[in-house]
């Protein structure tokens, strides 16, 4: 059997194993190891199996992941979401759909710090949906808006997903953070425009709310200071040259703890819970990363991505056609995989292919992340939709999916913009001379 064919077989077996409920980390590592053994013999495969976990887990760059997760875990426990929602609501009060606008703004800010779409959606499901329903908003649209807005967290830096991509794809994390900021803000703006359009077309879905005096607006807006400070420490500090991404993550996580204690929103028990939650999440994530690296070793050995690139050249496919095909692949993967797994499973195969047709690794990181957000709210297994439904069992899943449709359209508008104008991604890193 040729190596290329072995690579194809490996991908097929991996998908079968995933369908058979084998844990993702195990499926990646197992298929990678057996495939490597088939390609290069048991002795080298066993040696590779013994060395990959050590090389990965002792990499300093990986320490950024638990520290950013910790910052999110502390922020989630420190009542920052409620204050943020009130502040965003004060800014939009008086507009039709003000509470939905507020949800989008608050999710964008909170998600940036939290770094997890599912945690953001779960948090705002408790904060925003009851408030919107109390004001007569349509439950399906309210839940759909929270599901979509929750996904902003994985694009707007600092983002755990981007940190993982930077390790798998060997790309600069500060550059990825800078590259993601503009697309993240554009997506938030597109969501706001979406709400505005829906409000014009279907005013019955979201009634008008009362306006607010300017003084009250400003007072409520001040509630954003905690997250603004954390964002400054976590992101701006890197570009001011104060510290590396790992140090930024540690300083902002520490600042989150200090703020949570100083404002009386956290006690020792809560802190211990945040640390333990982070430890468990780190182990679960790193195990998948190790599996992905073992699988990647096998894929590289088979030269499957190179063969795929040659095949694309032979067929004379243009770069845009290749990226559209990759987009379709991510759309399908996103329907049954969560975002981390989508990236870890696919990047070893897709990155060499898109690099071969002339795209940039940083641009592709942002593209893949945006595609992952689509997977999070698209049927049949949009993860954030399920999280919200679990917390609001009286809203049927189908109704939440209907509520996300308008936001899915906004996601695809952003994808189109990224393909048509790659400068959206490269502009800020260029300005920052990265």
């Amino acid at each position: 059997m040729s190596l290329g064919l072995l690579g194809v077989l490996g991908v097929v077996v991996l998908l079968f194993a995933l369908a058979m409920r084998v844990p993702i980390a195990l499926a990646l590592a197992g298929v990678g190891f057996l495939g490597y053994a088939a390609a290069d013999g048991w002795a080298t495969a066993l040696k590779m199996l013994g060395s990959v976990p050590f090389n990965l887990s002792t990499a300093y760059s990986l320490s950024v992941i638990p520290l950013f997760i910790l910052m999110g875990a502390v922020a989630s426990r420190a009542a920052m979401s409620r204050e943020l929602f009130d502040a965003a609501n004060a800014l939009f009060a008086g507009f039709r759909g003000a509470l939905t606008h507020a949800t989008i703004g608050a999710c964008a800010a909170f998600g940036a710090i939290c770094g997890s779409s599912i945690a953001t959606a779960a948090t705002f499901s408790k904060v925003s949906i009851p408030e919107m329903r109390r004001h007569g908003y349509d439950p399906g649209f309210s839940a759909g808006a929270v599901a979509a807005a929750g996904t902003l967290g994985i694009i707007i830096p600092p983002s755990v997903i981007l940190a993982i991509y930077s390790i798998v794809a060997e790309q600069s994390l500060p550059k990825l953070f800078a590259a993601a900021l503009i697309p993240g803000l554009i997506l938030a703006a597109l969501y706001v425009i979406t709400v505005w359009i829906v409000a014009r077309l279907r005013p019955d879905l979201m009634p008008e709310t009362e306006s607010m005096p300017l003084g009250q607006r400003l007072r409520a807006a001040l509630g954003m200071w905690k997250l603004a400070l954390l964002f400054f420490l976590a992101v701006v500090g890197i570009y001011l040259g104060w510290y590396s991404p790992t140090e930024a993550a540690a300083v902002s996580a520490f600042a989150a703890i200090v703020i949570a204690f100083a404002t009386g929103h956290m006690r020792w028990r809560g802190l211990l819970d945040a640390f333990m939650e982070t430890a468990y999440a780190t182990a679960m994530l790193f195990f998948i990363v190790i599996g992905a690296f073992i699988f990647a070793r096998f894929i590289v050995l088979t030269q499957f991505p190179t063969a795929l690139g040659d095949w694309v050249k032979d067929w004379g496919l243009s770069p845009v056609m290749v990226i559209l095909a990759v987009m379709a692949l991510y759309f399908v993967l996103g329907t049954f995989l969560e975002e981390v797994s989508t990236i870890l499973i696919s990047v070893p195969v897709t990155l060499p292919l898109v690099l071969a047709v002339g795209y940039d690794g940083i641009w592709f990181g942002i593209f893949v992340t945006v595609m992952a957000t689509i997977g999070l709210i698209s049927p049949p297994t949009g993860m954030t939709v399920f999280v919200i439904q679990a917390q609001n069992p009286d809203i049927p899943v189908a109704r939440i999916y209907r509520g996300t449709l308008a936001f899915l359209a906004a996601d695809f508008v952003l994808v189109g913009m990224l393909i048509a104008w790659p400068g959206i991604v490269s502009w800020l890193p260029a300005v920052l001379k990265m």
């Binding site: 995933l18 190891f33 040696k47 199996l49 679960m284």
Partner: protein, 155 residues
Amino acid sequence: MKNPRDFVAKLCGWVSAAFLAAMLLLIVVDVVLRKFGLSPIHGTFELVELLLVCTFFFALPATFLRDENIVVDMIDTWRPRWVPALKRASAAAAVVLLATIAWQSWLQARNAMSFGDVTSDLSLPKILYWAPLVFGIAAGAVAAAAMAVKRGARK
């Protein structure tokens, strides 16, 4: 504590959380010292790497004990009766794979020890990095076996 499995999972979480807290404090202190023009902590990189490996591998068994490995669970809806058997098969596969990784890591750890490998800055013996790795993966295999037995008993 409901049962020994929960206790062991919590214990793993506590130990791992302690290493994570140490890593956080080490980096913050290092940054603060540097910002105030004082001499930074020598060998921070190597210490962070050591604490990272401890954070990860001491929590790994808990991933199995808490059944937190991410799976694609579409089959739960289509063929719910297959799920217990598939879970047992996955746990058995995890035992084999983790035991193999632990065995191979142990061989490489033994080599590192016999060659006297040390880190470049602090001259820490490399075996300090290998030990939590081998322990965590072997404990992960035992945890996966415990879950397989638990599922078997439940069935």
